[in-house]
């Protein structure tokens, strides 16, 4: 019966999101653009016109709208459009995977902390206070500097700095939900702690995680691009938006498109994710409104 109720809850969640998007043309537009971009990027072998690593010295630093090179070529004569499309795969993964991992770890810690309380709660929250005591970018830098620059280490660093926010958010939600009458009712019917958490508390916290997670993906895309910009994320010659932007710095005066175009794309994706996140927040969890 609970499972049936939860499926109904999921349907209500999507119905709420769809109703909100239909009323908000800007958010709907952002969702469509992001979806289209994701499809183009995922289908890179079909959509990218050229090999992103192939160098053509004769067309080095060609400006946008050069025949065959709609967004021009970079300093090594590689097609900027193809590199953006292939690089989008990495930027997408680096933007989404650390948020999912941080959400998973944060939700687990926050749920344990909030539900069981007591000494466990105290210890876990003090540990998170310590991670919070670091400016996020500095902790991420220190982690990547120690482990060595690579995309997996950058993702690990971004995950670690993302965990405390999710944990605190879910802890607050669990603290309020566990006092609700439906939890008492489940307990009176003989449900154990595991069942109460998995079947009753977590499904009611999903919207909070979805809203916060969407807003976090936008931040993470910029954060990861920042690490790559500093040479700590994706390593050459692999294309990635932040690394492409950094490559273009050397030729900013003669070929500004090499760094401005990837930057513009990062900016547009982040704007889209923030608009979508704001709309989801208004639909699902107006309490989070800033």
């Amino acid at each position: 019966m609970t499972a049936v109720r939860n499926r109904g809850g999921d349907r209500r969640l999507w119905a709420l999101i769809w109703a909100r998007l239909r009323r908000d043309p800007v958010a709907l537009g952002a969702a469509i653009v992001l979806l289209a971009l994701a499809i183009v990027v995922i289908a890179a072998p079909l959509t990218a016109p050229r090999d992103p690593l192939r160098q053509e010295p004769s067309i080095r630093l060609s400006p946008p709208l050069t025949p065959g090179y709609p967004l021009g070529a970079d300093g090594l004569g590689r097609d900027v459009l193809s590199r953006l499309i292939w690089g989008g795969q990495i930027s997408l993964v680096v933007g989404v995977v650390p948020v999912l991992l941080a959400a998973l770890a944060g939700v687990t810690i926050g749920t344990f902390s909030g539900f069981f309380g007591g000494r466990l709660d105290n210890v876990l929250m003090r540990c998170l206070d310590v991670i919070f005591a670091f400016p996020a970018i500095l902790l991420a830098l220190a982690i990547v500097a120690t482990l060595g620059p690579s995309i997996s280490n950058a993702m690990l660093a971004i995950t670690v700095v993302g965990i405390p926010s999710f944990a605190r958010l879910i802890r607050a939600s669990v603290l309020s939900l566990k006092e609700q009458a439906f939890v008492d009712a489940a307990r009176a019917l003989g449900a154990g702690s595991g069942r109460i958490v998995l079947r009753h508390i977590l499904p009611n916290s999903v919207s909070t995680v979805v809203v916060y997670g969407t807003l976090e993906v936008g931040k993470t895309v910029v954060f990861a691009a920042g690490l790559s910009f500093l040479g700590l994320g994706v390593q050459p010659p692999t294309p990635e938006w932040g690394a492409m932007l950094a490559d273009g710095r050397q030729v900013l005066a003669v070929a500004p498109h090499v760094s401005t175009v990837p930057g513009l794309l990062i900016f547009l994706v982040t704007v889209g994710l923030n608009v979508l996140g704001d709309a989801l927040r208004d639909a699902l969890d107006p309490r989070l409104r800033g």
Partner: protein, 316 residues
């Protein structure tokens, strides 16, 4: 109030202790032989042993941490591997320049963000409000390093109005005017995100207080609109804004690494970037420790300021 400040000071001690443990343990995550990694692939056996000795890597972990902490408390954060100079001196010297950049950016962010937020809240859904909120969305979504490059492209390479790198022009011999001239582009770049966040928070906080009874009373007493908004409403709306300002100041200190790299600003961020590139980990460790300690004390200062502004906080 004194009891509250003492309580908050005491609560900062375990956090600082935790920060020191994390930073120390990070060094232990170096894959392989840490001394060999730090010395570099071309180092001789003697140089590797020297680093091992210097960092006490032969001793048990808790002894290493105890010695490191005892030295750190006395202000000794070790020596830079590359430059062989004391990390504390190097870090403090550069931090001054980062503080100048972060301070200027904070002033700019508060001036733009709070003003835009107040004006938006007093004219909700007006053209100004809509433009300001779109600006805030853009500011919040803008990668700072990209904004920096665009500003360099337009105002430095294009119009030639402002310098694109450094803190002083060696030809002019420095001076406050030269410093301000060099500060313009990096401080605008760094202030962008904070101004956007402050504008949104100020707007939403002002919208909450603007219809309260004391604001109506102030109006009924015949006070002018400007006095009511800036003198009465803003004062009470500032509480959440002050909290966000504290968080943002920490962000400005940390985020300066990207901006300093773009503008070659000779601050701690650029020093950390170079230290990371050359794997000078004691310098990275020292820089992160200093900024994190300042971040903890900044949050503490904001909590105290919050309690000063709203006495209820002290008793909760």
């Amino acid at each position: 109030m004194r009891a509250y400040v003492c309580g908050r000071l005491v609560s900062a001690v375990p956090v600082l202790f935790g920060v020191s443990v994390v930073i120390f343990l990070l060094m232990k995550l170096i894959p392989g032989d840490a001394a060999q990694v730090l010395a570099g692939p071309s180092a001789t056996r003697e140089e590797v042993e020297l680093i091992r000795e210097d960092l006490g890597l032969n001793e048990p972990l808790y002894v290493q941490y105890g010695k490191w902490l005892a030295r750190a408390v006395r202000g000794d954060l070790g020596r830079s591997i590359e430059l062989r100079a004391p990390v504390t001196v190097m870090v403090l010297e550069r931090f001054k320049n980062t503080a100048i950049l972060a301070g200027a950016s904070m002033l700019l962010a508060v001036a733009i963000g709070v003003s835009a937020g107040v004006i938006s809240a007093t004219r909700p859904l007006s053209l100004f409000d809509r433009l300001a909120m779109v600006g805030a969305l853009f500011g919040n979504s803008m990668p700072t390093f990209w904004l920096g490059l665009v500003l360099i492209l337009v105002f430095s390479l294009g119009l030639g109005l402002f310098p694109s790198n450094g803190m002083y022009d060696i030809r002019s011999g420095g001076g406050p005017v030269d410093l301000l001239h060099h500060l313009v582009l990096p401080s605008i770049t760094l202030a962008g995100v904070s101004a956007a966040i402050l504008a949104r928070v100020t707007r939403s906080s002002m919208l909450e207080v603007i219809h309260r009874e004391y604001v109506t009373t102030a109006r009924a007493k015949g006070l002018g609109d400007r006095r009511v908004i800036w003198g009465h409403a803003l004062k009470n709306a500032m509480l959440p804004v002050v909290t966000v300002m504290g968080v943002q100041l920490g962000y400005l200190l940390g985020g300066s690494i990207l901006v300093e790299t773009v503008f070659s600003w000779p601050g701690l961020g650029l020093q950390l970037f170079r230290a990371i590139s050359s794997r000078d980990l004691p310098l990275v460790q020292g820089g992160v420790m200093l900024v994190s300690a300042i971040f903890v004390f900044l949050n503490l200062a904001i909590d105290v300021l919050y309690a000063f502004l709203d006495p209820r906080v002290r008793y909760s």
